[in-house]
């Protein structure tokens, strides 16, 4: 019903209003898909209307060689694909960044990897491929051999970062790429004239492993390995999104028991991920005991996971069509019991954290992302929810059993500061615990894996709400189950875009705290 209304609404407000600019429209109510074809000149207007007027969220942009460029939006329970074709001659598309900022990094990435020129984008180049990479070599294009090591280049000594601060004696504080104790590799340039940092220039993709490229021409099961291992700390959510994409494409119905177990495991991963995140926040403020207490619970959750699934990070726990093996009801029951103890312990710690003055002083009003910024930057996950944007794929675009799962509440805060993000994490742990206890209370019986799988050629989008936010996996496969194109839009990629909004006008010593309250993963972003 919701889908039907959404499609009708979309037809009324978009298609009817700018009918002459749209080439063709098709709607698939059963799959909740709405496809708009248009010429590239009317693309900014249509996408701008979708994002700004109809408040659809931007999911991802998919480039395929010799196929239409696909912009995917979602909201109201449906997914909207906007397809357009660029002129092959000069490989140029109009930039959407003037309409909404969420498209910024997608376009920069496509410029680097596909060699597409986005007209009107003010800052192209030096994004995924750093300054030494020669211009005109675009690794995602089919002509580029992704298996051969690319020759190593000279350092460009004339390189200068693009700074914006113009003040007497302004300088850059370089951080990274190797910094701090266990930090992931990334590079930050803080623009400052002394104590206060006025602007942050983040540089990522030090860990670019070209997952999308090396996935091509591999079998679905091999790509599944990549899907779960490109970001190890949220492996289950990503492999789930990938499996969903294949299952949707090939119309595989996942058994009920597998669906329930997947929800259980995904929420368990969310809890573990959030506990690690909170431990990071405590550690960034120097609250040693709380860090230790959280870490103890994190390790206990890792061990619980390992006892339950065989692996501490859920590796190998998703296969197309379900789970590779069943988890006995007894095991689930004892795990849930242990989990409820852990969540109880966590709640005690949260109560203590909420009254630790010195701790709150450091995270309150630090790294603020306003609701307006969060919306225009298209942020997702706990970060967006802490800024008052109630976006959660489990409710806004229900998948894999969440539609029928027991009532789910999405925690939300409005301040958008470090403490709001921490509170969202705390409440999500609570709500995940509730989901788990409800879903495991009446576990359906039956198999955990669908029968024989017959691959269908075509493309499909799969998604899941990873611990850090919306994760979109888009695949195109042929009928042998070979992946032709694989596109991942992980939440960290979406959210790092918003980091600079939080990291301006702050005292230098707050930098680790802003980093920790964002809690994003570079492995996930860089892919």
């Amino acid at each position: 019903m919701q889908i039907h209304n959404a499609i009708a609404h979309l037809t009324q407000h978009l298609v009817d209003r700018m009918g002459e600019k749209i080439s063709s429209v098709s709607a698939d109510e059963s799959r909740g898909e709405f496809v708009i074809n248009c010429t590239f000149s009317s693309l900014p207007e249509i996408c701008g209307a979708l994002f700004n007027n109809l408040h659809y969220s931007f999911a991802t942009m998919i480039v395929e060689e010799s196929l239409p460029i696909r912009y995917i939006f979602y909201g109201d329970g449906i997914v909207v694909h906007v397809l357009t074709t660029m002129s092959e001659r000069d490989r140029t598309l109009p930039s959407l960044t003037g309409q909404f900022h969420a498209a910024d990094w997608h376009e920069r990435e496509a410029e680097d990897l596909w060699g597409i020129n986005f007209k009107g984008h003010p800052r192209l180049g030096e994004f995924v491929l750093h300054e030494e990479w020669p211009d005109g070599v675009n690794p995602m294009r089919p002509s580029f051999d992704g298996h051969k090591p690319y020759p190593h280049r000279q350092i460009d000594s004339r390189w200068q970062p693009a700074t914006i601060l113009q003040a007497e004696g302004s300088f850059l504080m370089p951080i990274g790429p190797i910094f701090s104790d266990f930090a992931e590799s990334a590079h930050f340039l803080l623009e400052t004239v002394g104590e206060d940092v006025l602007h942050t220039i983040p540089r990522f993709f030090y860990k670019y492993r070209g997952v999308e490229k090396i996935a091509e021409n591999k079998s679905v099961s091999d790509v599944l390995l990549l899907a779960e291992r490109f970001a190890g700390t949220s492996a289950f959510a990503h492999s789930l999104a990938f499996c969903h994409a294949v299952e949707r494409l090939c119309s595989i119905s996942v058994p009920w028991r597998a669906t329930a177990l997947r929800i259980f495991l995904a929420e368990l991963e969310r809890i573990r991920h959030h506990v690690a995140g909170i431990a990071g926040i405590c550690s960034s403020t120097g609250l040693a005991v709380a860090t230790s207490q959280m870490s103890v619970l994190e390790e206990e959750l890792l061990r619980l996971t390992c006892t339950l699934t065989g692996h501490r990070y859920f590796f190998g726990m998703n296969v197309i069509g379900g789970l590779p093996q069943d988890i006995s009801d007894d095991a689930v029951k004892s795990a849930v019991m242990r989990l409820s103890q852990i969540v109880g312990e966590l709640n005690l710690l949260f109560d203590m954290l909420k009254v630790s003055g010195s701790f709150l002083d450091r995270i309150e009003e630090v790294g603020i992302v306003t609701e307006e910024k969060a919306r225009s930057l298209g942020l997702v996950g706990p970060i967006a929810r802490a800024s008052g944007v109630p976006i959660d794929l489990r409710t806004s675009l229900p998948y894999g059993g969440y539609a029928t799962a027991p009532q789910l509440s999405v925690p939300q805060e409005s301040e958008g500061d470090g403490y709001a993000r921490l509170r969202v994490l705390m409440q999500e742990i609570e709500s995940s615990g509730t989901i788990i206890s409800r879903i495991t209370a009446k576990m359906p019986d039956g198999p955990v894996k669908a029968g024989a799988i017959r691959f269908v050629s075509g493309s499909a989008l799969g998604w899941s709400e990873a611990p850090l936010g919306a994760s979109f996996h888009w695949i195109r496969i042929d009928k042998n189950g070979t992946v032709l194109r694989y596109r991942i839009t992980p939440p960290s990629f979406t959210n790092w875009l918003g980091f600079h909004a939080a990291a301006e006008n702050f005292a230098f010593q707050d930098f680790p705290i802003i980093m920790a309250t964002f809690g994003l993963s570079n492995a996930e972003c860089d892919r």
Binding site: P149, S185, K207, R209, I214
Partner: protein, 253 residues
């Protein structure tokens, strides 16, 4: 007294007994397939990284390649036996990185530099557990430093991406002798599921000489602790060397 101090004192000691004696608590390790004798019904496990090789004497597993996909563990009828150990570190002794025992130099506290050269986050997360109460490697005198000048041991995780080659090389060059390089996880050993490709190397040994390897995807914290003890000569039991043909043509480039 501060509630946190009270809380900390009232908490039980969680730290593992390892390495004094083997700790076999549940969930410390995912385990790994073990070699097994020749079987009649030789089947294809579908090992995605070709870690399993069938030889005349049976099934042999190249642990360096194993990424714990569980493909060989889950078939109900013909599963490979899996062990649940974690002392997986191996010394490397090749012409390019001959093993030198520096027990005297490493008898005091050890500073460890961790370089993330493109890992997925799991190896780094397991490394992080080492500094947390359950494994607490500080009790053994291991400390993490952010600068190579103070470092004795270099821990590398990840397959060495194109963009991390230079930082890794600089970090390695910045560490004074005697130093030990420990490669952690399947990616750092042979590229894992990512490498070699246009942007990932086939492991750390492609770039710098490695002294100790620890397999696993990710290796559990106890395995990394074992690797540290092996690297600093504190583990007396592991004397065997991993003989492996490595192409170290790129060293020094």
């Amino acid at each position: 007294m501060s509630p946190w101090a009270t809380k900390g004192m009232l908490s039980r000691v969680k730290t593992t007994h390892y390495p004094d004696r083997i700790d076999s608590s549940d969930g410390m390790t995912p385990g790994r397939p073990s070699d097994t004798a020749l079987r009649n019904n030789v089947i294809n496990f579908g090992c995605p990284t070709s870690a399993i090789e069938e030889t005349a004497s049976g099934v042999s597993v190249d642990f360096r390649r194993c990424v714990h996909c569980f493909h060989c563990a889950r078939p109900a009828d013909v599963a490979l036996p899996w062990t649940t150990d974690y002392e997986w570190a191996k010394k490397i002794n090749t012409t390019n990185s001959p093993w030198k025992e520096n027990r005297l130099a490493f008898r005091h506290s050890i500073s460890v530099l961790v370089v993330d050269s493109g890992d997925c986050g799991a190896c780094l997360s397991e490394l992080k557990q080492l500094s947390k109460p359950y494994y607490n490697f500080h009790r053994l005198g291991y400390f993490v430093t952010p600068t190579p000048r103070h470092a004795d041991v270099l821990l590398v995780v990840g397959p060495v991406t194109d963009n991390m080659r230079l930082p890794l090389l600089r970090a390695y060059e910045g560490i004074p002798e005697p130093r030990k390089v420990v490669a952690i996880g399947a990616c750092a050993l042979m590229g894992g599921v990512f490498g070699p490709s246009f942007t990932s190397s086939a492991g750390v040994a492609d770039l710098i000489p490695v002294n100790v390897e620890v397999a696993g995807c990710p290796p559990p914290p106890a395995a990394i602790l074992h690797a540290l003890n092996v690297a600093t000569g504190r583990d007396q039991h592991t004397s065997e060397f991993e003989a492996k043909p490595t192409g170290l043509d790129h060293v020094g480039q």
